[in-house]
């Protein structure tokens, strides 16, 4: 089950931007072995290349929190569940049907659990 070493990195083309602002694609090279899952890869990028990359997750590897939902190569995935293949080139984007907050983070909280939504008792 362990993928044989090929020496091939993984390439992540990540859609970035804040709110309704402009969108850009940044390409990150992740070494083989650094990422079994997409979330591993994004965490590796943050820790080694660019800590400004915004990714939402809580439970890291258990698929319990359901926070790391995003688009990988056009499909909705949980980043902690999506396996990476060495040498592959991937397109990564935030959920298209939710408001973008920053980079891969979308507004996923239920409206009743958001500050500043209609429910809020702002003075």
């Amino acid at each position: 089950m362990n993928t044989p070493k090929t020496g091939k990195p993984i390439y992540l083309n990540v859609q970035r931007g804040v709110g309704d602002g402009p969108t850009r694609i940044e390409r990150f090279e992740v070494p083989e072995g650094a990422a079994a899952s997409l979330l591993d890869g994004l965490r590796w990028v943050r820790e080694n290349l660019d800590d400004t990359l915004a990714v939402r997750y809580s439970c890291i590897n258990a698929n319990a929190c359901k926070e790391c939902m995003m688009i990988l190569d056009g499909k909705v995935v949980y980043a902690c569940m999506a396996r990476m293949q060495p040498g592959a080139e991937h397109q990564v984007a935030p959920m298209p049907n939710k408001a973008r907050m920053r980079d891969l983070i979308s507004q996923i909280a239920p409206a009743k659990e958001r500050l500043g939504s209609d429910e809020e008792d702002d003075e």
């Binding site: 089950m1 800590d51 915004a54 590897n61 319990a64 920053r102 909280a109 239920p110």
Partner: protein
Amino acid sequence: MTAEHILNLETDVLVIGAGGAGMSAAIAAAQAGRRVIMTDRSLIGRGGATIMAQMTVAVALGEQTPDDWRYHYADTLKAGRGLCSEPLARLLCESGIDAIRLLDSWGVGWARSDGHLTQARAPGHDRPRCVYVDYLNTGPAVAKTLRTQVARDDTIHRFGDLLVVDILVEQGRAVGAVALHLATGQPVVMRAGAVIVATGGLTRLYRRNSASLNMGGDGYALALRAGARLIDMEFVQFFPIGHLAPRLVGFDPIMWDPFRYKLGGRLLNGNGEEFVEKYGHAAEKEGYTVTRDAATYAILKEVEAGRGSPAGGAYLSFQHVPEDKLREAFGPIIKKLEAAGIDLTKAPIEVAPIAHYHMGGIRVETDMSTDVPGLYAAGEAVGGANGANRLSGNAITEAVAFGLQAGRSAAAWSESAAPVDEARAQALASPAVAELRSSFEGRDRQVNVAALIVRLQALMQDHVGPFRSEEGLQHALRELQALRAELGDTLPGGTGPQDAVRMDALDLRNMLLVAEAVTRSALSRRESRGAHQRDDFPGMDDAWTLNQTLSLRDGQWLLDTQQVRRLDPPLRIPAAATTEDESQA
């Protein structure tokens, strides 16, 4: 930065953290008729540790076999190696019964057989005592059940994406909090009659951990800065059989515990030999009985002696278990494992200790009040009930039982605690607000903050992990200082939404403070006990049957000791308490 409107909220009870303890506290406070705001830095009821629980919830229901909460209490004390606060352990075991029955009445779905709740026997318990939800679904079921109850109550306002930065203290009394609203990047000031810290533990301080991202000990840092004492900070529980290899995607690393409860399994060293009995414990063939501190010790000693598995842990084998039994016990999970290329009938997996739970925490009375009037704590954020080592299954019970208690106490306190007025709250919050409003986005930074967190985790794992020494702990203190210097005094990142650098920097500040609390407590305790093992001071020393407390006064650490809290008179344990299992002392 003057004219801009700051969002202000006001409530009777503010609950920080929406895991099992926080949600239980919010429910109890609302039932007492108080208005509640519950916040979480993540989503409500999805982050934290509760949702990660795989199986056991220990409570003396007596459904499987006759039981009494005093037997559970005796086991909890024994596992805690002499350091449990007896009043807190009693609260856990005694009021845990109603707490877990309450979850049952709300339809959590505890596993049942033959017309009663099924209770499994976990290491350190003298009899089958742990209820659970199949398959590996205890945590998600508990979280969902509490979320549903919280959502039904209109007096509980719940706000996710709210990262509490500091507790507001007026003349020594907790009166609210200031938070960063992650969705907008703006500060928020909350006034409250009472504040409950229910932020969980600190396992994110370690490289290998079973926790959520948000378990970085921020509640301990909040309490310290507000003036509260912490207790037992040196006792970090390592879960002995965290998954190590082959790499699994989308599984919780503590998943093998339920397999052990139901199927036993065999723990083997790199040479394929059983080894726990070499360390004075019952052999594996006697069943799954070795407590977490003891198993962690045995595995790491084998690795140290060059008898580890290839990835640096131990083998866990289920090869002797017939396939039909595997499928009967864990059907859907076996299918998921097959899809991941793992066949338990053909090969063992590798496991190694992984940071899992913190026995220490905020020092409380049995009403969950802290040293700071108006400030309460609940769940794993509380220290003391589990002493030097926690029994399997006590965490969810503690979360719900202590959460309900904290909610009731905070509600009662808030009846007579007049909130400060808005102007006063703004003034108290102004230093934190000013900092949150300063942007350093785009400035040249020398450091990657996420990388600093990784360095902190490696440092803690290597030097303040399961095995410790004077030299290693002193090294850790120096390195923590160096990391603090690298982070600097200004708060990196900007004022926009979901600024990853700013969040990491706020987290790292708290993590550095809490890491130092753990390290200083570990350095001071010159003996080995439970989860605290000193290479240079092996063995338990009776003179150290004491709890250490820690506080911050004007930026200086105050480390002290106190006598272990005993019940007076001592609790009389009915005679049958220790008939079954004396092997775990």
